[in-house]
Symmetry: C4
Subunit: 311 residues, 4 copies
């Protein structure tokens, strides 16, 4: 049976071809007027949307405002993991879905990403996280008002600030918090580098984002008790800025003995540590040919030209 029949269309999961219907040309022409050709701007938009999705899929608002009736600790971690998964899926084909400036820094250190893009990615993440927090607040406005009795507090039984960003547990000391963030981010980087290390085996499309989501779940279940495992400066600072503006006030920065800067700075240390560990223990030793050792120049990996991509 021929596939040129205009009756046929490409459904999302069908493998049959599509002939666009005439009325779509109007929508397509409208959208085409909005095409942005600058690759860097596209990447920033993708990174921004990725963080927006990641924060918007957070389950803490639901669990806290429902007093644990609509979720528990596990569902909060599952929500974080799935948010990371879909944040990656919306961006990975455009920018690689860094979603974390520590990851950008790691790749830059290894020469796989230009340094000049790192601050731009960081700003995109900050904006996306800020807007994501604003959306969560909008969506849960009624629930937050009822739960908090109208008072937006950082601490206490009706506190709601923890919906948006991290705060240290009562038992956590300064050095404990620093070590926690460094160790957790180091583990995050070690495992992410392993996931993208093609010499560990080329993963099928779509599996890497799933594994990274699973990694976020693993860290949340094993290292989330001390302070909620932020591990991502923008992911923590963006929503914190939002809560500062939206009514929780300056206590978001003073709480926990001025906790806020630790999840903003310590992940960089952990990220560097994790990168060095993985490189020294695993990646730098991948078998090399004499040729590779003699000419340490730019390495062009296999070019994949995908239909519709990169023409």
């Amino acid at each position: 049976m021929s596939y040129t029949n205009s009756e046929l269309f490409v459904s999302p999961f069908c493998r049959r071809t599509a002939a666009r219907t005439p009325n779509s040309f109007t929508m397509e022409r409208l959208l085409r007027k909005c095409i942005i050709r600058n690759q860097l701007v596209r990447e920033c938009l993708a990174e921004c949307l990725g963080l927006y999705i990641l924060i918007g899929s957070g389950a803490a608002a639901q669990v806290i405002t429902s007093n644990g009736n609509h979720g528990n600790y596990l569902t909060i971690q599952l929500g974080s993991a799935l948010g990371a998964l879909f944040g990656i899926l919306v961006a990975h084909g455009v920018s690689g879905a860094h979603l974390n400036v520590v990851w950008s820094m790691s790749l830059s250190i290894l020469g796989r990403h230009p340094w000049r893009k790192v601050p731009l990615y960081a700003l995109s993440h900050l904006l996306g996280a800020f807007l994501g927090a604003a959306t969560v607040y909008l969506q849960y406005y009624d629930a937050i008002q009822v739960f908090s009795g109208g008072q937006l507090l950082v601490a206490g039984p009706n506190a709601t600030a923890a919906i948006f960003c991290s705060y240290p547990a009562e038992h956590l000391s300064f050095w404990g918090g620093l070590v926690d963030q460094v160790v957790a981010t180091a583990l995050l980087l070690i495992c992410c580098l392993a996931v993208v290390d093609r010499r560990q085996g080329r993963l099928p499309n779509g599996l890497a984002p799933v594994l990274v989501g699973a990694l976020i779940l693993a860290i949340g279940l094993s290292m989330g008790s001390n302070c909620g495992f932020p591990l991502n400066p923008a992911r923590d600072l963006g929503p914190r800025l939002f809560t500062f503006i939206a009514g929780w006030g300056e206590e978001v920065f003073t709480a926990g003995g001025g906790w806020w800067w630790i999840p903003t700075v310590a992940p960089f240390v952990g990220g560097l540590l994790g990168t060095v560990i993985y490189e020294l223990l695993i990646e730098v030793h991948h078998l090399t040919t004499p040729h590779e050792e003699q000419s340490p120049g730019p390495e062009l990996e296999e070019v994949v030209v995908d239909s519709g991509n990169n023409r």
Copy 2:
């Protein structure tokens, strides 16, 4: 070893060939008399079955009637997610498994689906959801009777209407409900468009349905507290019509201040918003060649001819 031996057969997971056994010809001849050639009718049957499976796999009946002994909030969301996964699996090879008229609308706006099919898909979804709800009621008849004491109520500690469709939480205002549905459906569409966007990477067969199921789980865990995240007009209205007929009465339409029309209408708004967001931030900017810009005609994507499919 040759594969023509009639002893051999194709087991579901085996890769060995099959020679059909003689007695199968009778069953095959009987079934062949029922072949429907009209593609649109086939698609409607598939969409109907998909919604039927989606509703039938819902875990709310079990959790509510067992007073939480056989499940909890997480298992209800897992049940929804898995129901979506298998609803897609039974239909995706035939119709693309839209399972949601908002998704059909989005694809039509983008010119990937003919508008004339949208109302027919919607009716198929409505019928499938109605029959799915009837099956759940049949299967849990005893449990519902015992739990409710024989009184089919919409509200109260022994209410059972929420097994079938959505009702707003007490804290939820009118605008809160509207915003909740718009935001949640927008996120659903953004992520679905990313999953099927081949320029984000071609997923192996079977992974896209799994990701969509994971997306349903993510939304349930993070946006389910306000009203149960219907996000799908037919999925909510079909079972609601069933409960209206089956004995819960007109309160299913009056409850929550006439809540019923919000999950029927608001998802369209959210779907349009999500489509525009994804297109403007990601998809419309995928690199284009000068050739593609000059000739915005029908685009024929790669034809995949699978044995037994589309001959």
Copy 3:
């Protein structure tokens, strides 16, 4: 770098070649004396081992004897799902991992499996399930003795028979139980047929077992409250026979008004219903060529020759 060096070995996840070390020849020669060439016997061994793994991975023993401290309803369902997954993985390359005589029956009805093998598979399943139950009892002997106070009961707060097989909930009537088993098995068959339907898309190796495991989870979460969703005559009868012999006595057959025969017979009805539904709504309508309609003879699908398999 050459791969003939005997230093190299094939690690399970490595892609490097292996030269077997000399001392292995003794083990290999010993094992080779045990090779069974009869294909049917091999398949029965595989089916037996598959059910053994499925039952052995059941989490009910742990949850019941620990009074819910080491698990809950969700973990029991997860355990069932994972047991099904690994039961399939140990057998699918040999026999297709039917693991359920209802599935064998469905394939035979569709002409994809010889009827003469069905009773042999059923006996293998029965034996595997019986031995699996015996292993669970052995492993949890101490825990069962302590929990039950030495009395092996079918009902009551210290009952332990439900570890092994299904019993109806108090609210369940005779017809309710029958309908429950028919509906659940029908859904099981519809979804299994969709998973193995190549015209829905060819799944990568290993994904089909994962999807079937997910299906078991879905059914457990949504249809497990009435009687524990046995759906599999051998899976229910084998362990029931074990408990009859091991000390729970004849009450295992008299409980629930003689419940035992319903999960032994009703799944066949549900299996037939599910098969007919999927065929009439989906599979029989897959596009056919005039050629296929004219010559309804044996259909040889693509031959896959894998190294070491089927030579």
Copy 4:
């Protein structure tokens, strides 16, 4: 669009090529000075890191010190499973990620791994597990101090030793513990052999580690109640040695009637049993050609040369 532009870079999930940026040459030159060419040393480093990740991702510390507020039995098992998954991912491309000397033993028995490497792998595992436990202690130092009141105990309501290694449940007898470890390790080996058995079907890259993680979850949910399913001598002994040194004292070896040696020795028995079961029931019977039977020499499987790997 050409891919030689030095502007382009390889993002982790993008398929576009990368030209390394000049400043990376410094980092690369520094790292290249650390290249270790000895394959065995590399494998030991990888195995060590794998166990380190596996232990470091354990969720027991979080659940115990938070009194169940930040997790429960299920999250502990999920943490173990995910720890196994990522432990495999960091090592599998280098050494095959044995992570368990019982697995190394099994492969050696089958002639797929040189015996001389087994003790070296075991020592690497022991070291990795010891360091992993030390890291968990460091990260949860504050939480452990607060929970235990400063007293590091093996038993009692404020005991913390179980964070690190296994202890028998009160109901467990000597023989019960022995049988438990033998049965659980046998099931572990049967299923692992099935996962890596290419004649069951070649799994896509990345799926095997996921399945092994799922297997760990299955065992934890179904066989974890008796003693926490160690199944891995180094995984249990390494952290136990750490607790002995770090302050819990010699009670870690005397508790449970000198329990410590059972999870160190019994898994070998279970591993041998599982290997023999899988070989005799499944693997040895895979169809062979007359040629294969006559020449039982070294078998060279398909050589896969991956860019950057093994040149």
